[in-house]
């Protein structure tokens, strides 16, 4: 890898956009630099399940031609035109395989593009490929992928978080400047936290879910993954908006401004004077590593020094959030995953012996096609929805969900944004929690409440503990996504000043790690 391409990939997406527009670089150069980087490091990281080299370069070359043509053709290019992007392999893409990290969909090609993919194609962003994830987005370490774990660029013996470990690791390792993720209980934010990147879970309905393979419909949300808050905001503005194909997507008129808010402006404000920031009492203390809490406190201190008003808020129902989540999510997942039966598409497995009845083929397909974690959640969800148990499990969980929403409503009376550590720990070693599902589930204790309430959240780097990234999470009321960009953009700037460099720039050189 040349030093030029090495410096290209370390630019932010905003800088890449500026250089492309100024004609200082071409999209082909930029895209090739990322493809080279993937070729160099992804053998170690395993962030990509599929690399779309030819397609990406073709898109890049077309953007360069439009730029060279000048006039309206060049002027009408989207600011992100020519900036490459990686897509979580839970989001369907025409012409590129989509596996959801599962053997069940190995070799399956979607006949249609997800709405967010249509949008990034319309903006003419070269799609570098599809990123690894826990199977059907079920996990917090990407170890549940049927295609091998992704490794953390900060320490390849450790997990990159999950389920979107592939997107986060790709961005942290400079394999892509931007990526798309999905967040059902923290799958964008927790990987962001442990890889030193920025990830946003938009307000539920803020981004169309059409084409995101469903895990839990009432919790899933697509969002941006980036190295800076501004970059995340740039991508968020591109993918946001109402979609007729997703009934749960928000009409623009429902935002307080009556239109899509300007996330980039909010991210660039970098001023916290007078901002009321609520520290959630329930999301700190026991279960959180000392190093994580130390960085968190320092972040609060920076914010306070710069004029923010720090208050503590009480959200007592959060103690039940994890329990409610692990009823609602598997219930919906058990239903959403019923379609994988080998009848219409994807893997079909015939029983090894006995008659070939439809039930037995469906059974053999699902037994062979799904991994253990997926089966665990299907069984849990099927049980929770069964007659006689529905009220006690699914019904009670929905009540807790309402209580959590009320806690948030009350908290947002006292504060403009809420703050917590994103994840209780830094990246843990591979395989260390694989045999203990509950320990794995606890990784998402701080991120889950936002999904249950449908509110926006962001994870932004908050410094290092034992050489590994710590994340700080900001939460805002529904449709107030601009506030999380405002707070996160400001904290990012304060910490850059403190450490004299962005955190993401401190990731160890992988070439040295890989030799």
């Amino acid at each position: 890898m040349t030093s030029t391409s090495n410096s290209l990939i370390r630019l932010t997406a905003a800088e890449m956009s500026a250089k492309l527009r100024a004609g200082e670089i071409t999209s082909v150069e930029l895209t090739q630099a990322h493809l080279d980087r993937i070729a160099a490091v992804d053998g170690t990281i395993n962030a990509f399940l599929h690399v779309a080299e030819a397609e990406a370069l073709e898109t890049a070359a077309a953007v360069d031609r439009s730029r060279a043509a000048g006039g309206t053709e060049a002027e009408s290019l989207h600011p992100l035109a020519g900036v490459p992007i990686a897509v979580k392999d839970l989001i369907v893409t025409k012409g590129q395989p989509t596996t959801a990290g599962s053997k069940m969909l190995e070799g399956w090609m979607s006949p249609y593009d997800a709405t967010v993919v249509e949008k990034i194609r319309a903006a003419r962003m070269p799609i570098l490929g599809k990123t690894n994830l826990d199977e059907f987005a079920m996990g917090s370490s990407t170890e549940h992928s049927a295609f091998g774990p992704t490794r953390n660029p900060w320490d390849p013996t450790r997990i990159p978080g999950g389920s979107g470990g592939g997107s986060a690791a790709a961005v942290a390792a400079f394999e892509a400047p931007l990526a798309l993720g999905t967040d059902t209980g923290g799958s964008i934010r927790q990987p962001g936290s442990v890889t030193g990147t920025v990830g946003t879970k938009p307000t539920y309905g803020g981004v169309s879910r059409y084409g995101a393979i469903a895990m839990a419909s009432s919790l899933d949300q697509i969002g941006p993954v980036a190295r800076t808050v501004e970059d995340a905001a740039l991508l968020h503005e591109l993918i946001a908006g109402h979609d007729n194909k997703d009934s749960t997507s928000l009409p623009e008129a429902e935002y307080p401004e009556g239109r899509l808010p300007a996330f980039v402006d909010a991210a660039s404000a970098k001023n916290v004077a007078g901002l009321r920031i609520g520290v959630i009492k329930q999301l700190q203390g026991a279960g959180y590593q000392a190093g994580v809490l130390a960085r968190f406190q320092e972040a609060l201190e920076r914010l306070r020094e710069n004029g923010a008003e720090i208050v503590e808020v009480d959200c007592p129902s959060f103690d039940y959030a994890l329990g409610a989540y692990y009823l609602i999510m598997p219930s919906e997942a058990s239903s959403n995953l019923a379609r994988y039966d080998g009848v219409r598409y994807g893997t079909r497995v015939l029983p090894e012996e006995g008659p070939l009845t439809i039930e037995r083929v469906m059974g053999a397909t699902r037994a062979a096609g799904f991994g253990d974690e997926v089966k665990r959640r299907i069984i849990l969800g099927t049980y929770a929805l069964s007659a006689g148990y529905y009220d006690a499990y699914y019904g009670s969980a929905q009540k807790i969900r309402t209580l959590i929403q009320r806690d948030f409503d009350a908290a947002f009376e006292q504060a403009d944004v809420l703050v917590s550590p994103t994840s209780p720990t830094v990246a843990f070693p591979l395989a260390s929690k694989l045999d203990d599902p509950v320990a794995m589930y606890l990784n998402d204790v701080a991120t889950i409440p936002a999904n249950l309430a449908g509110i926006p959240g962001i994870s932004v780097p908050g410094g290092l503990s034992e050489g590994l990234p710590v994340g700080v999470q900001f939460l805002a009321p529904a449709k107030q996504d601009a506030r999380v960009y405002h707070a996160a953009g400001a904290l990012e700037q304060l910490l850059n000043d403190t450490y004299d460099a962005p955190l993401w720039a401190q990731v160890p050189a992988l070439e040295e790690v890989t030799g």
Partner: protein
């Protein structure tokens, strides 16, 4: 109950209907599925069309592809509200869809999106008219929206999925909008239960046709009936165990299926046996039912609210605007038209059976007399349609054409026989009747001979009337027109009759 005893029950000879009804009181519950005629499907933009190549009217949503989401067809919701109103139901201000989950290859997502505990319409009634004109009120429990499943074809001797060599699935029907109408238990019907069941399904068919929300063709499965039947001893107060006969797909078959089930239940109960709660298949050839799946109330569909769809909110304004659009209820309309047109009961029944009520009404509104409209539609047009194996309405004959033809006859330009030829040429695309008459040189010289003869006959038979006219009571001529019409089989022009009478009496008109 195990299969041995069930087979034993199936072997019990059904009682005669008379015996059954003397001993037991039948209770029915009717579930009618109506396929809507919306342009697109319930939750996708794929066409809702019948009879196309398998798996052509499908998109990624209908096939349950990964990542797809449903979007509600607003037109289907409007249809459901209209139907609910026509069934005198309350319309829910807010209602949701749910997922009814079961694994079956005709259901692409392995759940059916349906309304469960929140139907869009509930608590209604419909009055059905029986053969003798008596009315029976059927209470409606609910009408809810759902999607249809795909169509399975099983290759092999059994014709069922069990034991098939292979099965084919066509998803064209998957996602077609359905409304399921569920009655409350129908009690007190006694021996009229089968007739009530037939009249009810027929009424529902007329209502959805009148609302133009379904093609309502039972042979295509646009309207399908599941008939639940149970028997109890009179005054028992507790319903017996029911059977559910599925997919009874003609009006006649509904009556037969209910009759057979009453007889079958009575046979088993009289022999001291007990009824198995199960679904039954209707067999048209033997007019019997056969045992299907044992159905227990413990079937667990793991219903839960469909999280991919937001609740449907029906504003008062919306519902009222739809109510304002409702056509006159079919039964009321029929009563009104029959009275206005003066048809005999038999004539009117034939018109209904021929499905030509709309056409005749329109033709009358264009200025034709009810008798003329009926004569053309039930006569020559039906004959032509029959010869060409199409529906009369499908021949493409406009009301205005019939009026024009009739005017040509009235004016004496053509006679009846020629008019029939003109109609056929018109159907063959030769243009308007006037054009055809001109182009083919069909205009005939008016022949008064037959009419004159009829008038003279009438005058000879009614000398008293002739005297009155002679005495200057010109209105009395009216009394001669009836006999002349009778003689000329209604083809006489009244004005002309009057003219001839006056000529004969040497008076100027």
């Amino acid at each position: 109950m195990n299969t041995t005893t069930q087979a034993a029950m199936d072997a019990v000879e059904p009682l005669s209907f008379e015996e059954a009804i003397e001993t037991y009181e039948p209770v029915m519950g009717l579930e009618v599925h109506v396929e809507l005629n919306t342009a697109t499907k319930m939750f996708s933009s794929a066409p809702n069309a019948f009879g196309d190549e398998p798996n052509t009217n499908v998109n990624e949503v209908d096939l349950g592809m990964p990542g797809t989401l449903p979007a509600v067809n607003g037109k289907a919701v409007e249809s459901a509200i209209k139907l609910g109103l026509a069934l005198n139901c309350s319309i829910a201000e807010r209602c949701r869809f749910a997922r009814k989950q079961y694994f079956y290859p005709d259901t692409p997502k392995n759940w059916q999106t349906s309304q469960y505990d929140e139907p869009i319409a509930f608590d209604g009634h419909v009055d059905v008219e029986l053969d003798d004109g008596e009315k029976f009120r059927v209470e409606i429990e609910r009408a809810h929206m759902e999607e249809d499943a795909g169509k399975l074809t099983h290759a092999g001797a059994s014709g069922r999925i069990q034991g098939a060599d292979y099965s084919l699935v066509d998803y064209n029907r998957a996602g077609v909008p359905l409304i399921e109408i569920v009655t409350k238990p129908i009690t007190g019907a006694g021996r009229r239960a089968p007739e009530i069941a037939r009249a009810y399904v027929s009424t529902i068919r007329d209502i959805v046709k009148g609302l133009d929300i379904s093609d309502a063709r039972m042979e295509r499965g646009n309207v399908r009936c599941d008939a639940n039947v149970s028997l109890m001893r009179p005054g028992a107060g507790v319903f017996g165990t029911r059977s559910e006969t599925k997919n009874v797909n003609s009006i006649r078959a509904v009556e037969h299926a209910v009759t057979y089930e009453i007889r079958r239940h009575a046979g088993i109960l009289s022999a001291g046996g007990s009824i198995v709660q199960e679904t039954r298949h209707w067999k048209e050839d033997t007019r019997t039912t056969s045992s299907g799946r044992i159905k227990s109330d413990a079937d667990d569909y793991r219903y839960f609210p469909e999280p991919d769809l937001v609740p449907i909110v029906t504003t008062k304004e919306w519902v009222e605007s739809l109510r304002a659009e409702l056509p006159e209820p079919p039964a009321q309309r029929r009563r009104r038209l029959r009275e206005a047109w003066g048809y005999s009961e038999a004539e009117f029944r034939d018109v209904i059976a021929a499905g030509l009520l709309d056409q005749i009404e329109e033709t009358v509104s264009h200025g034709a007399s009810p008798a003329v409209a009926r004569k053309w539609w039930m006569g020559e047009i039906s004959r032509l349609a029959n010869a060409r194996e199409v529906e009369p309405a499908g021949l493409g004959v406009e009301s205005a054409t019939i009026v024009e033809l009739n005017e040509l006859i009235q004016a004496g330009s053509i006679n009846d026989k020629i008019a029939r030829q003109v109609l056929e040429h018109h159907v063959d695309g030769e243009g308007s009747p006037a054009d055809i008459v001109r182009n083919r040189g069909l205009e005939v010289v008016s022949d008064d001979g037959a009419l004159t003869a009829a008038v003279e006959k009438a005058m000879a038979e009614n000398p008293d009337v002739v005297e009155k006219v002679k005495a200057g009571k010109l209105k009395a001529i009216g009394a001669l027109i009836g006999p002349v019409m009778k003689e000329t089989r209604g083809q006489a022009d009244a004005g002309k009759v009057k003219q001839i009478v006056l000529e004969r009496l040497g008076r100027n008109s």
